[in-house]
């Protein structure tokens, strides 16, 4: 069995390049995971934001879910952002659970419509000493935590970020902000060394350098 020393991002649909870009800014060489065969050397996997119904459909059709669960049982950590957190939850209000790897109850699209999407700036003491910018887009709410799960951030009547020994769930999108704090936190949780804290200025459009139409070397 190969050593688990790399971080992957599930690359089926959604905000994949944004996570890849943040991980690269930490000096890592992340894997874009599209196949069941790519989990063997992963210390950690990020389930990106996107549409959870689309993601779970593709995970099942291409028989990726069983391999993902196998790797998880073998020690691979998982971080779900937004739709990714929904996939992780053991209990989804009004729906069947999907991967069901984390003992949380979650309500999909709990804030309403796109016009109710918003930004906030808060301190998450366990993750960073500085205020972190959070972006909520048609976000879910974590409503209940199992006994092994701890809240990292509570807002009003819901939990916005939670973790247990093997999973991290955030209902917001750190990959859409300039902050690397949550990515650094997850990478360290996976036991992988962060080689640099890039001083590269990350912005809303940083991911676009990975999706250029012109020659990127120019």
């Amino acid at each position: 069995m190969a050593t688990r020393n790399r971080i992957g991002v599930l690359d089926l649909q959604g905000g994949v390049l944004e996570h890849i870009n943040h991980l690269q800014a930490l000096g890592l060489n992340p894997v874009r995971v599209k196949e069941a065969s790519q989990f063997d050397d992963l210390a950690g996997l990020i389930l990106p934001g996107g549409e959870s119904t689309c993601l779970i459909r593709l995970l099942n059709i291409f028989e990726i879910a069983p391999k993902l669960k196998e790797a998880f049982a073998d020690g691979m950590k998982i971080w779900g952002t937004c739709a990714g957190a929904i996939l992780l939850a053991k209990n989804i209000e009004g729906n069947n659970s999907q991967l069901g790897l984390m003992d949380i109850s979650i309500a999909r699209n709990a804030f309403g419509f796109q016009v109710d999407s918003f930004n906030a700036k808060v301190k998450v003491p366990k993750v960073s000493n500085d205020e972190i910018e959070l972006t909520f887009i048609r976000a879910p709410k974590i409503k209940e935590l199992g006994t092994n799960v701890k809240a990292l951030l509570e807002i009003d009547d819901y939990v916005a970020a939670a973790e247990d020994e093997n999973c991290l769930a955030t209902v917001f999108h750190p990959e859409l902000t300039s902050s690397l704090a949550f990515h650094k936190y997850f990478v360290q949780k996976c036991g992988v060394k962060v080689s640099t804290d890039s001083d590269e200025h990350l912005s809303r459009t940083s991911w676009m350098k990975l999706a250029r139409i012109t020659n990127p070397s120019k």
Partner: protein, 293 residues
């Protein structure tokens, strides 16, 4: 619209990347689309193929019908307003649709001006045939762009033409010396500030989807390989023999657009595709893509 709202709207579109947005005309179709793995649905009374066949004036759909679709699914719901018809857009915003498509598929309400999209909180998607059109829509506040293609034909040729033109324009703009940018903007109708952003990013500063004539998994993968961020399928799904099967196949082919084996598997045994209209035999004034200024 505060700057922040524009960012959130452009970011919603980012979450749709690599996905398929499907035209639906009732809650049953919307559920089929969601179940097949669509990332969003476009709610409308008639798909473009029927709009084309029926003729007459085509308008925004009945808000009641859009609301029924909103109630039926948990994925984002988009709806179309006529070009320049800002009151239709106000109604769709009051309805809290997730995206408004200011669309050439409907009969234009203004033959000179588009909607001032910067006034709205709800995001807009607009069609474009080239960089100039895309950049003008972005300057007006559009948070997402799609090719116009030729809706309701099942012929992908116009979508390919528009994406190729977009890439050509972007490459040309990026290769210019700084002093050549202003004349390029003048000649191509590109707002200068958007041109500077495109030069810095090497692409449009918002997500760019394919639309107009996509009917098969191969069409979807073709547009993705040409550099589109995702795909709209209008008449192609629910005008085909087996919509659920075709919808799933197009979702698969879009996610694995570089994997020929998976696209091949997705293309097997789909039954009848929609009956197409060949764009090359079409009179210029029949083309919906001509609408928009």
């Amino acid at each position: 619209m505060e700057n922040n709202r524009f960012e959130l709207n452009a970011q919603l579109a980012q979450m749709l990347k690599g996905g398929v947005i499907m035209d639906v005309i009732n809650p049953e179709q919307a559920k089929i689309a969601e179940e097949a793995g669509a990332v969003a649905v476009m709610a409308l009374e008639r798909v473009p193929a029927d709009i084309r066949a029926d003729g007459g004036v085509s308008r925004m759909s009945d808000p009641e019908m859009i609301a029924e679709i909103q109630a039926a699914v948990s994925i984002p719901v988009m709806a179309k307003a006529r070009i320049g018809h800002f009151v239709e857009a106000q109604i769709l915003e009051a309805l809290k649709v997730d995206y408004i498509d200011e669309s050439e598929v409907l009969t234009p309400a203004d033959e000179e001006n588009h909607i001032d999209k910067s006034k709205f909180s709800v995001p807009f998607v607009c069609g474009a045939r080239n960089l100039g059109e895309a950049a003008r829509r972005i300057a007006e506040g559009s948070a997402m762009i799609r090719t116009k293609g030729e809706a309701g034909t099942g012929d992908v040729v116009e979508a390919v033409r528009h994406m190729r033109q977009m890439k050509k324009d972007i490459k040309e703009l990026c290769a210019l010396d700084p002093e050549e940018v202003m004349p390029f903007c003048r000649d191509n109708g590109v707002p200068y500030n958007v041109a500077l952003q495109v030069r810095e990013l090497g692409r449009l500063p918002v997500v760019n989807f394919a639309a107009g004539g996509i009917a098969t998994p191969a069409d979807a993968a073709l547009m993705m390989q040409l550099g589109c961020d995702g795909v709209f399928v209008g008449s192609g799904i629910f005008k085909s023999g087996d919509p659920a099967l075709r919808a799933r196949a197009i979702v698969k082919a879009t996610a694995y657009y570089k994997d020929a084996t998976k696209v091949m598997e997705a293309s097997k045994g789909l039954g009848e595709p929609m009956v197409g209209i060949n764009c090359s035999g079409m009179a210029e004034d029949e083309k919906l893509a001509k609408r928009g200024w």
